[in-house]
C-alpha cells in the first residue's frame, strides 16, 4: 500500500512543480515505484519539467472521466523504468475533475505505486481541493518572501481544516548571502511564523533553470546544490534523519573588515 503526497503552496511560482519533479525522481532513484500526477488542469507543466512532453497521449481527465484506463495514460520516464507521469489535461479547466474522482484515483494509485506525488495548482479553489482530496500527507513549498509565507499560512490552515494534519514545509530559493546581511528571512524566522515542521531547505540555484531547460530534474545532477537539497528531502520523506545542508557563505572581505573593527 503506497502513500499519496500532495505538494502545494497557495502562491504560484514558488517551485511546486520543480519540487514535485525532483522529489518524484529522487524517490524513483532510491528504487521506489513512483507516479507523478499533474493536477494543474489547463496549465500543465510537470511534463516539460520532466522532459516528457512529447509522449503524452491521454491525460488525467481522460482517466477520471473513464475515457481510458489508468495504465494507458501513464507515461514511463526516460531515465527510470519505475517512474511514471500522469499529465494534466491542457484544453480543459479545473472543474473537469471533482474531489471524489480524485479520491478514487488516489486509492487506485496507492494499489500500484509506493509513492504518488500530486503537483497541486496555485490558488485555493477547486484545483486545490482536487489535489488534496486523496492525499495522505502534504508538503508545503514557500519562498522567504512576505507574500509566499502569508499564502503558505493560509494553505496550512486549509490543509488542517481538511484533516491533513502536520504538513511539512520546504523553504525554497533561500539566498544565504541575503540572509546573512539581514535582508532575507531565515529558516528560524519562517518556522516561528508558520509553526510547522521543516522537511528541507533549497538554495536559490542556477542549476534549476538549466535542468528545467533540459527537462532533467536537478536531483540527478551530483554537482547541483539544489539537487543535493532535494536528495536530502527525498531521504527525509523515506523517514531517514539527514542534517540540513550547510548554506553558510564563505567569509568575504567585508566580513573580515567587520571582525577587524570588532563589529561582529
Amino acid at each position: 500500500m503506497g502513500e499519496v503526497i500532495v505538494v502545494t503552496s497557495g502562491k504560484g511560482g514558488v517551485g511546486k512543480t520543480t519540487t514535485s519533479a525532483n522529489i518524484g525522481t529522487g524517490l524513483a532513484a532510491a528504487g521506489h515505484k513512483v507516479v507523478l500526477v499533474d493536477t494543474d488542469i489547463g496549465l500543465r507543466n510537470l511534463d516539460v519539467v520532466m522532459g516528457l512532453e512529447n509522449r503524452i497521449v491521454y491525460d488525467l481527465v481522460d482517466v477520471t472521466s473513464g475515457n481510458c484506463r489508468l495504465k494507458q495514460a501513464l507515461i514511463k520516464d526516460k531515465r527510470f523504468p519505475n517512474l511514471f507521469l500522469l499529465p494534466a489535461a491542457q484544453t480543459k479547466d479545473k472543474t473537469a475533475v471533482n474531489p471524489e474522482q480524485m479520491r478514487l484515483l488516489a486509492a487506485e494509485l496507492k494499489e500500484e505505486f509506493d509513492y504518488a506525488i500530486i503537483d497541486c495548482p496555485a490558488g485555493i479553489e477547486q484545483g486545490f481541493r482536487n489535489a488534496i482530496a486523496g492525499a495522505d500527507r502534504a508538503i508545503v513549498v514557500c519562498t522567504p518572501e512576505v507574500s509566499a509565507v502569508r499564502d503558505a499560512d493560509r494553505i496550512i490552515g486549509l490543509l488542517e481544516a481538511a484533516e491533513l494534519r502536520n504538513p511539512k514545509l520546504i523553504i525554497n530559493r533561500i539566498r544565504p548571502a541575503m540572509v546573512k546581511r539581514g535582508d532575507m528571512m531565515d529558516i528560524t524566522d519562517i518556522l516561528d511564523i508558520l509553526a510547522v515542521d521543516l522537511i528541507g531547505v533549497v538554495p536559490e540555484d542556477e542549476s534549476i533553470v538549466i535542468s528545467t531547460n533540459r527537462g532533467e530534474p536537478a536531483v540527478m545532477d551530483q554537482a547541483s546544490q539544489a539537487g543535493e537539497a532535494y536528495r536530502r528531502i527525498t531521504s527525509r520523506i523515506q523517514g531517514e534523519e539527514v542534517p540540513l545542508m550547510n548554506l553558510d557563505v564563505p567569509k568575504g572581505i567585508m566580513e573580515r573588515m567587520k571582525s577587524l573593527f570588532g563589529l561582529r
Binding site: E145, V146, V149, R150, D153, R154, G157, V179, R181, G182, D183, M184, M185, D186, D189, D192, I193, A195, M254, M257, K258, F261, L263
Partner: protein, 92 residues
C-alpha cells in the same frame, strides 16, 4: 566616527527582514482570525461604550489588538482608567 564606519559597513540599520517579519505577524493575525478591520473597529466602539457606563477611560491611550501565539489568537485590550464613575462606585 565609529558610528559612521558602522553605517558604512551596514550594521545598525534595521534589516529589511525584521520589517518583513513584523508586517507578516500583523497581517497573519487578521488572516487567521478572519476578522475584518471594520468589524474590529465596531467591536472597539462597542467596548468603549459599555466600559464608559462604569468608568471614565482614556480613549486616546486605549490599545486594542489581536495578538497571536503560535497558531492561537487572543484579543488583548489595554484600557487606561481615568476614574471610576461616582454613581456606580457608590452603588458598589
Amino acid at each position: 566616527m565609529l558610528e559612521f564606519i558602522s553605517r558604512m559597513l551596514g550594521r545598525e540599520s534595521a534589516s529589511s527582514k525584521t520589517v518583513a517579519k513584523e508586517r507578516l505577524r500583523l497581517v497573519l493575525v487578521h488572516d487567521r482570525a478572519s476578522i475584518s478591520p471594520a468589524m474590529l473597529n465596531r467591536l472597539r466602539e462597542d467596548l468603549i461604550k459599555v466600559i464608559s457606563n462604569y468608568m471614565e477611560i482614556d480613549e486616546a491611550a486605549l490599545e486594542f489588538n489581536l495578538c497571536q501565539d503560535d497558531r492561537e489568537v487572543a484579543l488583548v485590550a489595554n484600557i487606561p482608567v481615568v476614574k471610576m464613575k461616582r454613581d456606580y462606585a457608590a452603588k458598589g
